[in-house]
């Protein structure tokens, strides 16, 4: 039996953060419970829906056993814990679940956490909380459209700890408006003082997907666009964090992720290792090792499909051997331990470019990658420009 990760998408937030480029939106509270019912039903009926649609893509996962569950969003912590419990129960009913090492993560925003919810989550089987702290500076949080403030982070962690959560990951974003070198360093230090088991650090991505990104690209000043740090400042922030975290016992195992020993995110590693995962909910993505598909992003369209017992898939793509090779390289290399080229070369003999060795050598000469035998990894000093490596290796 193959292991599979389960991803549950909750595409609702109380407000949309200015930097957010995800398919999420603001919906009235009254929409939460019906959406949770729809997800439950999707989990219950997915095999039948695939069979009716004559799609073989998920067939290989029918008898897989679940070893990780991730409730992401959006802000799943907004939901009534009872609704989340029913969704998790549906997963356990429909799939064999591995007991040992099982990881069940819930994304939570600090201001949404109460002792009662924390207790209910734990009771429902959640054993890992991903806390969207982003910054410890109120001016930055405010400008980014976050609803929590510095104090909320401390109280959230205290509540989670007191209820017994022993696996907490904390997100920080480098590049928020008004962030300075000093304020960033302070956020990193505060995070370290809280000693979460895991830390994720993302660099603000300037693209068309977010309000702030669009404003920056258009040269405007709304959403504090003028106060967004430069690329260089973001790179400095990232490099500072790399340095500080590695000195304080955190293992930098993926470009954006650090963990205390034994606390790597098993679910997220599946993405980089091209292991299968099944996504449920509007806009959820799935991968069976060969096909990638995604549900309708619009919650209404998603709910309508489920209502009619139709497969809610809106994108379905067979990953070509060439694309698979590209993924092996750019996903695999995100992990700091790197990749072993030997099995990749063996598996993709027909696709791999004959000059791959020369390209890697050039990247090595440029100080972007390190090579030892058939193992290749990103140079730790140049992680902030890792796309340059991926693009050079892409075909």
């Amino acid at each position: 039996m193959r292991p599979v990760g389960i991803y549950i998408q909750v595409p609702f937030c109380q407000t949309k953060c200015t930097y957010c480029n995800f398919h999420t939106g603001v919906a009235p509270r009254a929409a939460y419970a019906p959406y949770a019912r729809a997800v439950e039903r999707e989990i219950r009926d997915w095999r039948a829906m695939f069979a009716t649609a004559h799609l073989e893509s998920a067939a290989s996962l029918e008898s897989a056993f679940v070893d990780t569950i991730y409730l992401g969003g959006g802000t799943p912590s907004l939901f009534d814990p009872a609704d989340l419990a029913r969704i998790l129960e549906a997963v356990r009913t429909q799939f064999a679940c591995a007991d040992a090492g099982r990881e069940v993560t819930l994304e939570a925003d600090p201001e949404t956490i109460t002792p009662e919810k924390a207790a209910a989550w734990l009771a429902a089987g959640v054993n890992r909380i991903s806390l969207g702290a982003q910054s410890f500076h109120d001016a930055e949080l405010k400008a980014a459209g976050r609803l929590h403030r510095r104090a909320d982070i401390f109280s959230a962690i205290a509540q989670l700890r007191s209820k017994g959560f022993d696996n907490i990951t904390l997100d920080l974003i480098a590049g928020l408006p008004h962030q300075t070198a000093a304020s960033w360093q302070d956020s990193v230090e505060e995070a370290l003082r809280l000693r979460p088991e895991h830390i994720s650090i993302y660099l603000f991505e300037i693209d068309e997907g977010s309000r702030l990104g669009r404003e920056l690209l258009a040269g405007g000043t709304r959403y504090s666009a003028a106060a967004v740090p430069t690329d260089d400042a973001m790179a400095d922030s990232y490099e500072f964090a790399c340095e500080r975290l590695s000195r304080t016992g955190y293992d930098h195992y993926e470009i954006s992720n650090w963990a205390l020993p034994g606390f790597r995110s098993r679910h997220n590693l599946k993405y980089w290792r091209r292991e299968p995962y099944l996504g449920f909910g509007a806009g959820a993505h799935s991968f069976d090792g060969h096909w990638r598909w995604a549900n309708a992003h619009d919650p209404a369209a998603y709910a309508a499909a489920i209502e009619q017992a139709r497969l809610p898939v809106e994108q379905l793509e067979e990953v070509t051997p060439k694309q698979a090779l590209n993924e092996e390289l750019f996903l695999g290399l995100r992990q700091l331990e790197g990749i072993d080229l030997a099995p990749i070369e063996a598996q993709y003999r027909a696709q791999i470019n004959a000059d791959i060795g020369a390209r890697i050598e050039e990247l090595r000469a440029q100080g972007l990658v390190e090579r030892s035998g058939s193992r290749v990894r990103l140079a730790s000093a140049r992680l902030a420009v890792s796309n340059e490596v991926f693009v050079a290796l892409l075909d």
Binding site: Y7, Q9, N21, F22, H23, Y70, G72, D171, S200, Y202, L203, F204, E205, D231, D232, M234, A235, D236, Y238, I255, S256, N268, K270, Y271, Y277, G279, G283, A284, H285, S286, F287, R292, A294, Q315, E317, Q323, N326, E327, F330, L331, R334, Q366, L368, L383, A384, V385, S386, N387, E388, F390, V391, L394
Partner: protein, 602 residues
């Protein structure tokens, strides 16, 4: 055909004054085309001509018109191009006519090309019929325009026809005026054949199709004809006229205009300005035209090296129909294999580029346009150099001469100050300053052509808010204190970015160029200098800073496809750049040179 009933005429006008619309109305009125068959601006048949509202190729259309005296006349309308780049075509068209309709926009008044074309028509001794168009516009000022015609063009304008080509108002009177005012062609039908070639184009099935004006004698099928220029003999296969549909005829006699197909393989063999004579009855050649010489040169390179062959084929096809366009292979250290191309002007260059990209699907990098310099070496040798990279080293140059033009600019007096400043900045020498009316000024300047090919026209239009009009012609060569300005990227000279400019402007140009390039060249893996240099002396420097951040952020619930597409997009972006040393240079950077002089306005 009795030449008493033939009238050959053209329409001359400043761009956008309604020449093509009037032509359409004339076709409609004479029944050459029914209204149903009319597409807008029939004579502009190339897509580009229609889109840009300009006429590039001259064409003649035969119309049949029954005048009020009951007599049927053959009217040959010879269309002329409207843009200054193609003014040589105007000359040719005029040679085939006895009369010209001079169309002036009732709200715009006399413009630079109005003056230039009137001057040309007078030189060809044409009868000029003044026509004031667009009189139905609220801003029409026909009386003022008449006054301008009289004072500026020295044309009696009291009886100028007032029309609206768009609505058809007064157009009937235009036809009547052509019959009564334009003299019938002279020339003897019995004399030995002499026919002037005033245009030609390439037809994939029939070879060169030649447009002629028969001056003397008669052309018939199966006649043996000779080209005066090369003495080659051909047999006339067929002949006829465009109505605008091609109509095959049995003869073209003295005074008539039409086309001839005579198994001439290449357009280059049927040179415009050449005379067709009978092989058996030689006659002296008619005065021809000066050969068209390209004035602006640039390198065209495929973005992707493997498109070289396709580019060569495409250039060959374009040249079949465009005798003014010239190309030869060249290679550049930065850009690889490509072609040096010669154009009549910037518009011509843009049109060729656009056709290559659009009709042939080839992505191009175009190097900065240059002109043809005349260099006298210290050894006394005179070289003509149209590519700055081919300049001899400064120590071997005794003298550099550059082509100069005489430019005529007509503008409102509110923008005169700014235009004078622009002309001074462009190293112009004022030759004339004349008030056409209290609010209109005509400036005459001698300007170096290389200043015009940069951005003169755009800036002229922008500082006059579109009101200034420009016409120019080549006026010879003038010695200049010119230097070659090199651009070095990462210490390597990039030949495709080399330009020639006046010594006094070189520091400023160099600085502007590297500043602009720094903005256009994305950050690279390494820090590299970007320098402008004259010889070995660096006059300006910027630094391409190393890229610090290019990393994917959070993965949205396993959406790998989005990440992959983002990387593929970056890859595609890199593919479209040219790598010099270790620096990737985007296409736009190669045209930065063009914009240098205007960067200060940004």
């Amino acid at each position: 055909m009795d030449s008493r009933f033939i009238r050959n005429f053209c329409i001359i006008a400043h761009i956008d004054h309604g020449k093509s619309t009037l032509a359409d109305r004339l076709l409609e009125l004479t029944g050459a085309l029914s209204q149903r068959e009319m597409t807008a601006q029939v004579l502009d048949s190339m897509d580009l001509e229609k889109e840009r509202g300009i006429t590039i190729k001259a064409k003649s259309i035969r119309l049949h018109y029954r005048a009020s005296d009951g007599q049927e006349y053959q009217l040959n309308l010879i269309d002329t191009p409207g843009h200054v780049d193609f003014s040589y075509e105007v000359s040719r068209a005029l040679s085939a006519c006895e009369g010209a309709l001079l169309v002036v926009d009732a709200s715009q008044g006399v413009e630079a090309q109005t003056v230039a074309n009137t001057f040309l028509a007078a030189q060809h001794n044409l009868t000029i019929i003044p026509v004031i168009n667009k009189i139905d516009l609220p801003a029409a000022r026909p009386d003022e325009v008449k006054a301008q015609m009289e004072s500026v063009l020295a044309l009696p304008a009291a009886d100028a026809l007032a029309i609206s080509a768009k609505s058809g108002l007064g157009v009937e009177k235009v036809l009547a005026a052509v019959v009564t005012s334009v003299p019938p062609p002279a020339g003897a039908a019995e004399a030995p054949l002499r026919a002037l070639i005033f245009d030609s184009w390439f037809d994939a099935y029939r070879g060169a199709v030649v447009q002629v004006r028969v001056v003397d004698g008669c052309l018939r099928p199966h006649q043996q004809i000779r080209l005066c220029s090369n003495n080659e003999v051909y047999e006339v296969e067929s002949l006829g006229a465009l109505t605008p549909k091609p109509v095959v005829l049995e003869e073209l006699s003295a005074g008539e205009v039409g086309f001839v197909i005579a198994n001439i393989k290449r357009v280059a063999d049927a040179r415009v300005g050449d005379t067709l004579i009978e092989a058996a009855r030689p006659a002296p050649a008619l005065p021809g035209f000066e050969a068209i010489k390209p004035m602006v040169f640039a390198g065209l390179y495929p973005v992707q090296a493997h498109h070289y062959e396709a580019l060569r084929d495409a250039l060959g096809k374009l040249q079949l129909n465009d005798a003014a366009f010239f190309y030869e292979p060249e290679n550049s250290a930065a850009l690889g294999f490509g072609f040096r191309c010669g154009f009549l002007g910037l518009l011509h260059m843009e049109i060729v580029q656009e056709r290559l990209e659009r009709e042939f699907g080839i992505d191009l990098i175009t190097t900065a346009p240059s002109v043809r310099y005349r260099i006298t070496t210290t050894g006394g040798e005179v070289l003509e150099v149209d590519n700055p990279t081919k300049f001899p080293s400064p120590s071997q140059i005794a003298k550099i001469e550059e082509p100069v033009i005489t430019a005529m600019i007509i503008t409102g007096d509110d923008s005169v100050g700014a235009i004078l400043q622009l002309c001074e900045e462009k190293r112009g020498v004022q030759k004339g300053f004349e008030y056409l009316s209290p609010a209109r000024v005509m400036l005459t300047y001698e300007l170096p052509l290389n200043e015009i090919v940069l951005d003169f026209y755009d800036r002229l239009k922008s500082i006059s808010r579109g009101y200034a009009s420009l016409d120019y012609h080549l006026a010879g060569y003038r010695e200049g204190d010119l230097v070659k300005l090199d651009v070095l990227v990462g210490g390597e000279a990039v030949d495709a970015l080399t330009l020639v400019c006046h010594r006094e402007l070189s520091y400023e140009r160099g600085r502007e160029l590297v500043t602009r390039l720094r903005k256009l060249i994305p950050r690279q893996m390494f820090e590299d200098p970007l320098q402008a240099a004259i010889g070995s002396r660096v006059i300006a420097r910027e630094t391409i800073s190393p890229i610090r951040k290019n990393v994917l952020a959070k993965c949205y619930g396993g959406d790998i496809t989005r990440k992959r597409k983002l990387l593929e997009k970056q890859k595609e972006g890199k593919r479209r750049m040219k790598r010099v040393g270790r620096v990737d240079i985007p296409q736009e950077a190669f045209l930065a040179v063009l914009k240098v002089a205007s960067s200060s306005e940004e």
